[in-house]
């Protein structure tokens, strides 16, 4: 049976379970799945493995991309286009327009998206809220203010770790929530110097400094799932994290809306900061593999596969034309919010995970926010550092 090697960095249980739906569907078509998982370093290890393999002229059949990776590799001329399949199946129309830039290189479709995560969620413990006698906050000011009450009740207001990406998740949310979607696009996506050095940006950092006050001292080296565990146990009240955290609650048998809350980070115009996992196919000589690549693309875009996959992964389908009625409450909320955001032009690529700017730039945001968050840098300095860093990386 023809095999296709898939390079990916999904190694956790829920990820693997989701991946198995694709694997099984592929097997049903008569193709084998050869697993090449490389975890760690937020995909950095995988990137390095990929570069080595490309350098040695031995690329994998397919690879799981996030952010601009697919497009970037396509720019190096190593990807296959999937235009024929796209035209035959009319895939493009089913994909949210804001996602298209991440799977298309010019006119060519170079990857197929399987899911969509939302990054700017707040996960909250109802028990903790009740204990401190507070409700879901509607603005960041409220959220910050509730911190005092929570602390008084012996609850950590905000659970998080000090990894740069965890801090950046909050930063992304703050930029969009305080500056609005357009400001986000200008500052984080277009890297407009004026926006970057604006007062709004300073305000974002000021708020971030206040958020720091909500976090306990033990946040060093804390894994995000450990932080989620604090919400589950009621030791902490809230966590700002993508919807991959949801699995942790469900695994404990907790009910959304009852035992825990999921709501978007507070804002006047709630944004939808998305991540998309997609599969791209590398140019290879072996026609058998090319065939398998086609099969894999079809499987990934298959509505039932997307449906099953996302129920296991905690995300929602990349296709916008699917029903999610049998998904959990948070997923349904996500689905509805997405529709609204598409209308409001509030669909934003999650900068933390590479959906805004090129990695060399998004890393600068990570550097600055992380350094700002753990240290005692002033907002002015942070803004200046941001501008310098971005300019240096250009």
């Amino acid at each position: 049976e023809p095999q296709i090697e898939v390079l990916h960095h999904w190694v956790s249980e829920s990820e693997v379970a989701a991946l198995n739906t694709i694997r099984e569907a592929l097997a049903a078509k008569g193709y084998g799945w050869q697993d090449s998982a490389v975890g760690g370093m937020s995909g950095g290890n995988m990137q390095q493995a990929l570069r080595s393999r490309l350098a040695s002229g031995n690329p994998p059949g397919a690879m799981q991309f996030i952010g601009w990776e697919g497009v970037d590799w396509s720019g190096q001329g190593v990807m296959r286009d999937l235009n024929a399949l796209d035209e035959a199946n009319g895939w493009e129309a089913t994909i949210a327009p804001q996602v298209l830039p991440f799977v298309k290189d010019g006119e060519d479709l170079i990857a197929v998206p399987v899911n969509m995560h939302r990054q700017n969620w707040v996960w909250a413990s109802t028990a903790a809220f009740d204990k401190a006698g507070i409700d879901q906050p509607n603005t960041w000011a409220e959220l910050i203010a509730s911190g005092e009450k929570l602390k008084a009740a012996g609850v950590v207001p905000l659970a998080m770790g000090d990894e740069p990406w965890q801090i950046q998740v909050i930063f992304d949310a703050l930029v969009a929530d305080i500056g609005g979607p357009d400001f986000y696009r200008k500052a984080v996506v277009d890297l407009d110097e004026e926006a970057l050095s604006s007062d709004t940006m300073k305000q974002v950092f000021d708020t971030l400094r206040q958020v720091r006050g909500l976090v306990d001292d033990g946040f060093t080296g804390r894994d995000w799932a450990v932080a989620t565990g604090m919400i589950i146990s009621g030791d902490a009240a809230m966590q700002v994290m993508g919807d991959w955290a949801k699995g942790e609650f469900l695994a404990k048998g907790m009910k959304p809306g009852i035992d825990f809350l999921c709501f978007a980070t507070p804002s006047e115009t709630p944004s939808y900061q998305f991540l998309v996992d997609s599969f791209g196919m590398f140019e290879v000589d072996d026609p058998e593999i090319t065939e398998a690549q086609d099969a894999l693309a079809e499987v990934v875009m298959d509505p039932t596969v997307q449906h099953d996959f996302n129920q296991l992964k905690g995300s929602i389908p990349a296709r916008t034309d699917l029903s999610v009625d049998d998904f959990d409450e948070c997923a349904q909320k996500s689905f509805k919010d997405r529709t609204a955001a598409i209308e409001n032009n509030a669909m934003l690529g999650a900068a933390t995970h590479g959906f805004a700017s090129q990695p060399q730039f998004s890393a600068v945001f990570g550097d600055v926010t992380a350094q700002f968050f753990v240290g005692d840098m002033s907002s002015e300095d942070a803004v200046q550092m941001l501008v310098d860093g971005i300019n240096n990386a250009r």
């Binding site: 990137q47 720019g75 190096q76 946040f219 550097d367 753990v374 550092m385």
Partner: protein, 298 residues
Amino acid sequence: MTRKKSLSARLAEWLPRLVMVPSLLVILVGVYLFIAWTGWISLSSSRMVPQYDFVGLEQYYRLWATPRWHTAVANLFIFTALFLAVTIAIGLIMAILLDQNIRAEGALRAIYLYPMALSFIVTGTAWKWILNPDLGIQRVVNDLGWESFVFNWITQPNFAIYTIVIAAVWQSSGFAMAIFLAGLRGIDNSVIKAAQMEGATLPRVYGSIIVPMLRPAFLSVIVLLSYIAIKNFDLVLAMTNGGPGGSTEVPSTFMFSATFRRNQMGVGAASAMMMLMTVAAIIVPYLYSELKESRDGH
């Protein structure tokens, strides 16, 4: 006057040189050609994949304009200096203590040496917990009743690099101990007796006479520890992943993330060249003096 030598005789004469050829060849390619390649990349505009163009020293300017690189360089020096000093001190003390006709020497030696067997990935994780104020030492001491005890260096950007030093010292001091012990075992006992006859106390005997005699052992310890310090990569990743706030970045992690996470291959190559130049500046004079000495000596 001299007759022509037979072919086999000539082959025998050249055989020693011939057997060196494969090693030399792979080293020339694997080390020097690749260094040259890296050097070239550092002068190119490479981002995601190698580009073979020429942009001058642009990547070096960029590198030195990156605050994280400054942190990395500063950290490398802090780390190397402290790591060497503390590891040598502890290794030496352990070796001296173990050299006093200790009963369970074998077992103790094994205990001090075993961390060397573990990978940094493994031990870094363990140390991360031990040093975590909420989980590790601080918590244990607090639970024991000393509430005000604080040991939260790993959370402090200004102190986190020292926690990496702690873990690295733990990992390598047994090795230093082994080398020093080997050196001590080679010292003529009568020197110690002579010093004692002159009335020197034991600390004085060690301080003035024995430790200076360990020069060769010091040299090899320094070489091997520098090697570990410069290559320090896994440990930082496992313990702090460069954090908090990028405060524990070191050149090797910088190089890695520039090349593989940030699509700045040119900057990564430039940082690699900077590291190589630093190493060369230290090692080449040392090698030169050592080899010259051995030429004179034998």
